[in-house]
Subunit: 213 residues, 2 copies
């Protein structure tokens, strides 16, 4: 029940902490102080100490936090240790970029397969992930259950494919299309990657900087 | 000076409003009520009326907002009408996905060129955008000034290429790499696309849903 009391603001910072300590662990760093963590992430050390104490991680005065312990604790809260399985729907350039470069294992995900409807892609194996025909999605799901669908199809197929994922009772959809999926089932979490919003935020800040240098 | 008083919370919602009314304009919708806008975006109509009134857009009772006027007004605030020019640094799958599918023009951007160091890509034209060799970045910039660099190189080239963009005095960097660029120049706005954070937020919410159905 403890987790219920964690505020949304803290929750939004958790992935950043987790990504950062994951990077530190890869770099074989063993301990990190709240000061260094804060400087790297642009968060005050006292905010960091307060955030991390919310879920029982306490640094030692003068020694900081154990990177390994912190990563494990954050990973547990973020659901990383649940080892969700995922499939990619749409194996165009974006799907391929994710298969080849995105480190799913650091987010605790197993990528089981990728789907597409273009015959010339079917059967290819990319970075260990096989491309299957979209029409096989349901039969694949029966044999290899997955909890997450990653939607990288063209916009005009987005709603159709999302509805097929809904029928398969996935728990989450990571939506890279610009389409509003219109999913109302409260048991399915949809996370939209709105790249245009990110670019607009950037151009807004550039325009502001020009006006108020 | 009016814009200075707009709160951060409003600013974060502006790109969503803009993207949505852009979609409406493409669909030839002429007017939109705050109620419909709110239902589509999961924001209360009164919040929307309050947000939009911040910068002088007023809907007419019973008629709603003119989609075209609203899009123009929002676009102005977001810097879309500044027509920034951009280049892509790194023409792998992610760079290609952006070139082929991302609608830069809706964010008011002109994509001038794409860069890569792989000889087999140089000179290819994709969706009207030519791939140039990375070593030509500086000479290209002299002839064709750009304000924004889109960084889609592998992580180990990220800092080097970012520093070259800094030297070229770009105003913004849209960073798709996981690298911390470490740019301290206050005149350069960096917008990081942290896909891992988005996925971790999703898995956190999936895990929460399982624990508290």
């Amino acid at each position: 029940m403890k987790q219920r009391s964690i505020s949304n603001a803290v929750i939004e910072r958790l992935p950043r902490y987790y990504s950062y300590v994951t990077m530190l662990e890869r770099a074989k760093v063993e301990r990190i102080s709240s000061k260094t963590l804060g400087e790297s992430l642009g968060i005050t050390p006292s905010q960091i100490r307060q955030d991390l104490s919310c879920f029982g991680a306490f640094g030692q005065q003068g020694y900081g936090y154990s990177v390994r312990d912190l990563r494990r604790e954050l990973g547990h809260i973020l659901g990383v240790d649940r080892q969700y399985s995922a499939v990619i729907i749409g194996t165009g350039n974006l799907g391929l970029a994710l298969i080849q470069h995105f480190q799913f294992e650091y987010s605790g995900l197993r990528l089981l397969a990728s789907f597409d409807k273009r015959e010339q892609l079917i059967g290819r194996t990319i970075s260990g992930v096989t491309v299957l025909h979209s029409r096989e999605l349901e039969s694949f799901a029966q044999k290899h259950p997955f909890q997450l669908g990653i939607l990288t199809v063209p916009e005009d197929s987005a709603v159709t494919m999302a509805n097929r994922l809904v029928k398969l009772k996935v728990q989450g959809i990571w939506n890279f299309t610009n389409a509003e999926l219109g999913i109302t089932d409260p048991d399915i979490i949809v996370e939209n990657v709105h790249l245009a919003d990110s670019l607009l935020t950037l151009s807004y800040r550039m325009a502001q900087r020009e006006q108020n240098p």
